[in-house]
Symmetry: C2
Subunit: 189 residues, 2 copies
């Protein structure tokens, strides 16, 4: 029985990896992660091939929650313009939390500096999903160049959340007018 | 004589700290830094109180070069609008380098997640200098709200360089039109 991994060890490791890497950085040690999860290193290595894989899995598991927090519900009756603005209102709200450290999917890529790392790959894909959302809404809203607008909005998303995460600036009074200028220039209704 | 630190050890440590932390991250170890610099750990600790202080000093030493690379020369005859655009043309050029990892002064703050770290403090101050440049040029160029425009341009600077650094996007065809829209909206000549 001593080889058996307790049923919720996996969940607790995923939770600890997501929380600790967000607050302390991806270089948090395996010991610290296992301690935070209350799981032995032996169990961790039975469940995950490596810390890299655990980190990637934790980002993957959090992805639906990330989208649910930031994106408006499907077909909620809002206009494309309102649906785009919704995302940035959410960023503004999240950034006000005292433990806000910016977008976790940007931070992990900045920290790892290695696009081939399994966690970078997950993070890259999650952020591509956000850019796709912007592109679809931009097209539906009649943007003159939906691809350009989607890139601009992704840039603003990352710039604003990174700067809020390091306390260089706060989105209040900055994000909404910036997004409006871009939406206006692209002719989004 | 064995206690004597060779005259260029300090420079080589600063160079190694700047280069390795930029390419590998701030969590690069003391051993790796000393090895890259060809300096003993003993000498390193004679010269710097800690790795944190070495990192901060390396960012400080690189700050004039950072400004010289990005900012136009004083009184170069360019209009404020052209001087602001100049910065982003430089970012576009730098981001094309294969070893580009984004703005080092943003990355170090994202990685450290600690505004009280000596290196975070240096980085924060350097980026404040960039925002001041934008604010001054915005005011000279007749921006309707120079403070807002400076915050917007700093956001765009960080978003574009971070996304280029992680290979999420490239500034080409993105940065210039985005900056132009913001300059136009602010009425900068």
């Amino acid at each position: 029985m001593s080889n058996e991994v307790r049923p919720n060890s996996r969940d607790r490791l995923l939770e600890a990896a997501a929380a600790r890497s967000y607050l302390d950085g991806v270089h948090v040690g395996v010991e610290a992660l296992c301690k935070a999860a209350g799981v032995s290193k032996r169990s961790m290595y039975q469940l995950f091939e490596s810390k890299d894989e655990l980190l990637a899995a934790s980002l993957e598991q959090r992805a639906p929650g990330f989208a649910a927090r930031l994106l408006p519900p499907d077909d909620d009756g809002r206009s494309p313009r309102e649906r785009i603005r919704y995302v940035f209102e959410r960023v503004e709200k999240e950034a006000a939390a005292p433990d806000y450290r910016g977008c976790p999917y940007l931070a992990v890529q900045v920290e790892l500096k290695d696009a081939s790392h399994p966690a970078s790959k997950v993070a890259h894909r999650v952020k591509e999903g956000l850019t796709s959302f912007f592109r679809d809404e931009a097209a539906r809203g009649g943007a003159s160049d939906p691809e350009l607008l989607a890139r601009q909005l992704s840039l603003v998303f990352d710039g604003a959340s990174a700067r809020a995460g390091i306390r260089a600036d706060a989105p209040a009074g900055l994000l909404a007018p910036t997004v409006d200028v871009l939406l206006d220039a692209a002719g989004v209704r």
